[in-house]
Amino acid sequence: MNEQEVHERMRQLGIKFAKRTQGELVVMRELVEQARQGDAQAVRTLELLAHKIHGTGATFGLTGISDAAGEIERAVAQAAAGALAFDDACAKLVAACMGRLQSELDSFNMSA
C-alpha cells in the first residue's frame, strides 16, 4: 500500500465514521435525558462517546466534527467525574454542542 492508497482509505473510513457518528448522536440525545434524571453511568457513557468522536474525527482530519465533540466532552467532564451535578444548565450546554456537531456532520455530508 502506498501513501496515496493510505490517504484514499482514510477518506473512505472518514465517510464511514461520519455515518456512524450520526447514529451515535441519537444515542447521545437519549443519554442526555438519562443523565438529567440522575443516571451517573449515562454521563460517563456520554463523555466516552464524545471522547471517541473527538479523537477519531481528528485522526481523519475532520476538524469541525472533532472540535464539536471535544466541546461535548469538556461540557460533561466535571459531571462525569462526579464534581458537579448534570443539571439543566449542563444539559442545555451539551444540547447546544450537539447542535454544532449536527451542523458539522451536515456540512461534511454535503461535501463528501
Binding site: M1, V6, R9, L13, H51, K52, G55, T56, T59, G61
Partner: protein
C-alpha cells in the same frame, strides 16, 4: 534495543476505524506483524497465544481501560515484561507523566499521522536500549 527484535505488535482500541488505521499504518513497512483487539479483556485473553513483543493501548475504553489493562499485565508473570505504549487524545503533560510512572514505554498522541506511526513506534522501542 535491536529494531529487528520488534516483530509482533498488539493494538487495543474499541474504535474499529482506528484499529484499521493503526493496522494499516504499522503494516506499511512490512516489518511488523500486527494484531488488534477491541477491549482490554479480549487483549489479556489473546496475549497468551499472540505473544506480542509490544502492546499498544488506547487509554479510554469502555469496560477495562488502557491503564487497568496494563496493571493487569504487570500482575501476570507471563505478560509483566511486555513493553506498553499508550495512545491517547488526552496527551497532557500530567497524563504522560502518570503513564510513565505506571511503567509505560511511551505515549503517542492522537491524532497521529499514519505515515509516521511506524517510525514513532520504532523510536520508542529503540529507546528501551538507552
Amino acid at each position: 534495543m535491536d529494531r529487528s527484535r520488534l516483530h509482533t505488535v498488539l493494538y487495543v482500541d474499541d474504535e474499529p476505524d482506528i484499529r484499521e488505521v493503526v493496522h494499516m499504518a504499522l503494516s506499511l513497512t512490512g516489518e511488523l506483524s500486527v494484531h488488534t483487539c477491541e477491549s482490554g479483556e479480549q487483549a489479556l485473553a489473546a496475549m497468551g497465544h499472540i505473544k506480542p513483543d509490544l502492546v499498544m493501548l488506547d487509554v479510554m475504553m469502555p469496560g477495562m481501560d488502557g491503564p487497568t489493562t496494563m496493571r493487569k499485565m504487570r500482575t501476570d508473570p507471563a505478560l509483566a515484561d511486555i513493553p506498553v505504549i499508550f495512545m491517547t487524545a488526552k496527551a497532557m503533560p500530567q497524563e504522560i507523566t502518570r503513564f510513565r510512572e505506571l511503567g509505560a514505554l511511551g505515549v503517542i498522541p492522537k491524532p497521529f499521522d499514519p505515515m509516521r506511526l511506524s517510525s514513532q513506534v520504532f523510536a520508542l522501542w529503540e529507546s528501551l536500549a538507552e
